[in-house]
């Protein structure tokens, strides 16, 4: 008994991360890595390969934060989380950032004790059906069975959409995304609905991706972004400005390839971003070359986008809403000055 207790305590001691209550920033600096909550496997956003290396734009965001705070983008540990666990994991301090294609809503921002740090992907909910059903519009879906992920905003939007259009809905809800896809693939549902990016990603997991089509309707706004705990403004600032730095870098044309050369640029915006001028880093509580580290080690927003979800990837998503504001999109970085 005693031996067992001591074994257990030893285990507990190793597994317990005693984060200082001082703040996430100090906590992260102390332990030397960032614990990042990601999805359990969504290609393009966060997906592990066979040896456990994570890739995707949500993953890149965490790496960028690590680059900014610790100067090393590899100092990240990933916790794959289900939709159900994600908020508790963040609330309890198990993770430092939740970067798991999470939609920014009022309830989440308030009643759940969370703070959204920005939007790294503007999405909208779409529908996928079998091509041979011969459907052209979501408005023809009266009486359809819809496969959907449990407890997501998607599930609520779906109900709202059918209600407003006076259509009957048979929802079939699953806990895990893979189960939703499997059920849809097995013919349990007429339609599969989730964020459009998700549809594109999950489509690869269907037996015959070509036999399915997306319907034109986008029924909701799904701003997806990183989330941090409520009440830790310093950390919120770091995450928020990490995202802006990535966007700003793209606006300014700074890429991981040319960042060293750009350091010598005489564009004051670039000089400020890369820490050559001003003390933005100091105000943020990180080193002066924080943005340089982000761009050098992770890349700017556009690079990350193209690498994992852009047209040249299996997901083949257009920039669309995620284009820079200057190109008619919504990605707009607050001035880094």
């Amino acid at each position: 008994m005693k031996v067992l207790t001591s074994v257990f305590l030893a285990g507990a001691a190793i597994a317990v991360s005693t984060g200082a209550s001082a703040g996430t920033m100090e906590d992260v600096a102390g332990k030397g890595f960032i614990q990042c909550g990601v999805s359990q496997g969504l290609p393009g956003f966060s997906n592990p390969d066979e040896s456990g290396n994570w890739t995707g734009i949500d993953v890149d965001l965490c790496r960028a934060v690590a680059a900014a705070v610790l100067g090393d983008a590899s100092k990240v540990k990933f916790s794959p989380l289900s939709a159900k666990e994600r908020f508790t994991a963040l609330q309890s301090g198990e993770i430092d950032i939740l970067s798991r294609n999470t939609t920014w809503t009022l309830v989440r921002d308030t009643a759940l004790g969370l703070n959204f740090a920005g939007v790294n992907y503007y999405d909208g909910q779409g529908f996928m059906v079998r091509s041979d059903l011969g459907i052209k519009s979501a408005l023809e879906l009266d009486g359809a069975s819809a496969c959907v992920n449990i407890g997501t905003t998607t599930e609520l939007n779906l109900s709202d959409y059918f209600r407003t259009n006076n259509m009957k809905l048979n929802p079939v809800v699953f806990e895990k995304a893979d189960e939703v896809v499997a059920a849809y693939d097995a013919g349990r549902c007429d339609v599969y609905t989730t964020d459009q990016s998700g549809l594109a990603a999950q489509r690869q997991k269907l037996k015959d991706p070509g036999a399915h089509m997306l319907l034109p309707e986008i029924i909701s706004k799904e701003p997806l972004g990183p989330v941090v705990r409520h009440g830790d403004d310093k950390w919120l600032d770091v995450v928020k400005w990490t995202l802006y730095a990535m966007i700003e870098a793209e606006e300014l044309g700074v890429t991981s390839a040319n960042v060293d050369k750009m350091k010598g640029s005489d564009n004051p915006g670039i000089r400020r971003l890369l820490g050559v001028e001003g003390d933005g880093g100091k105000n943020l509580g990180v080193s002066g070359d924080w943005a340089y580290n982000i761009v050098k080690q992770v890349g700017n927003y556009g690079e990350s986008f193209d690498r994992y979800v852009g047209p040249k990837t299996p997901l083949a998503l257009e920039r669309g809403l995620n284009a820079l504001w200057s190109d008619g999109g919504l990605q707009y970085a607050m001035p880094v000055r």
Partner: protein, 394 residues
């Protein structure tokens, strides 16, 4: 040394008094438990307050806003989270009751087959038992759901049975009865028939006790229970119409549908539990010693009364307690519904509602309390039954 010198013993030193020791120890344990509990509660409250997480049970009145694929009571998106709980709870009860029924029937069949003198039948029953009870239920559930679902056709290519039943990957669609005027007569006559059958059985027993004459009470009772409602139906002109399902759009409308999640869950739960019940039944029957049969035969009883009056009552006493705990297991196992989208309490309440509101503590507590109440109810019944049987035994 004279005994007289022994004075009445002084009170023992308090630390050797077992009562004092017991009280001390219990107070200590209680204090530790209360302290531990208070520590956890305190932490939880602090965590909730610090992060501004909502708490309390007010959420039960909030509008849910999502749909549920199967409901025994009126439910729509405008209903509240409290209603969602009710829907999930009733679905849990439904699948448990149906599962218990099929598991019992199948389990008794297989248990008897296991004891069959036919070698092939006995070995097949054995293979069934050993296969099913050694594979995790969740795995079997996935098999029944995904493997069987994939082989079923789409609604447009439904398998048609008897003209009005349709089997496809949306489930089994069947006509639903619509009661018309006069239908209540049939229902009432059914109730009357059950009461009548009961009294006939009692009369038959009394008569046998008094005169020794026997009466086929089983067949008579069955006749009454089927005959009387049938008669009522004929008299009132079959006051029941059917809403026949028809294919419209890409799904059937009208009629009623057994969703595949329900079917898969019932099949998995009952085939799995049946393997355990079969073993219980076998053990129960073999526990009645062969001497009992021989004694009954020696008294001149024939096979059927021997079984009915001697063997089965004794076997049941052995069977019922473990059988009840299997029913309990089945009810608890129905929570695996969450893995295949059957809208039971775990899926819709501890799942969807939890994620919408984020109030983990309240929702998980309610869910666990519900199962606990169900368990206590069933095991309370079991204890009552055991006591009753134990009285009969003496």
């Amino acid at each position: 040394m004279a005994v007289d010198q022994v004075a009445p013993a002084a009170r023992p030193p308090f630390f050797y008094d077992p009562r004092v020791r017991a009280i001390f120890f219990q107070v200590l344990v209680l204090a530790l438990v209360i302290l531990g509990g208070a520590y956890l509660v305190n932490n939880t409250l602090a965590n909730l307050a610090r992060q501004g997480i909502a708490s309390g049970f007010g959420f039960l009145d909030t509008t849910a806003g999502f749909g549920i694929s199967m409901s025994l009571v009126e439910y729509s998106e405008e209903s509240t989270y409290g209603r969602v709980f009710l829907v999930g709870f009733l679905n849990t009860i439904l699948v448990s009751v149906v599962g218990v029924f099929f598991a019992t029937v199948l389990g008794f069949l297989i248990g008897v087959a296991r004891l069959s003198r036919n070698w092939v039948v006995s070995k097949m029953a054995n293979a069934y038992i050993e296969t099913l009870r050694n594979i995790p239920l969740l795995l079997q559930l996935f098999f029944w759901y995904f493997a069987v679902l994939r082989t079923l056709p789409s609604p447009r290519n439904s398998v048609e049975l008897f003209g009005s039943f349709f089997l496809n990957n949306r489930g089994l669609t069947s006509p639903s009865p619509i009661p018309e005027a006069g239908f209540s007569t049939v229902v009432i006559s059914f109730a009357v028939a059950i009461v009548a059958a009961f009294f006939v059985a009692r009369w038959a027993r009394k008569r046998q006790e008094a005169t020794g004459q026997q009466f086929p009470r089983f067949w008579a009772g069955l006749g009454i229970i089927i005959g009387l409602p049938l008669l009522a139906a004929i008299v009132t002109g079959f006051p029941l119409s059917w809403s026949v399902p028809e294919l419209r759009g890409f799904n059937f409308v009208n009629g009623m549908v057994l969703i595949p999640e329900f079917v898969a869950l019932v099949v998995a739960l009952s085939t799995y539990t049946a393997a355990f019940i079969a073993e219980i039944v076998r053990a129960g029957i073999t526990s009645v010693s062969h001497g009992q049969t021989e004694a009954a035969f020696a008294l001149g009883l024939r096979r059927s009364p021997t079984l009915r009056l001697v063997i089965i009552p004794q076997a049941l006493r052995v069977i019922i307690p473990p059988l009840t705990s299997q029913y309990l297991n089945l009810t608890k196992n129905s929570s695996l519904a969450a893995a295949i989208a059957y809208p039971d309490i775990v899926l819709v309440f501890a799942g969807t509602v939890l994620m919408q509101t984020g109030q983990a503590v309240e929702i998980i507590s309610i869910t666990m309390a519900t199962y606990l109440a169900l368990s206590l109810l069933i095991s309370g019944f079991m204890n009552w039954y055991n006591q009753k049987m134990a009285l009969v035994e003496r």
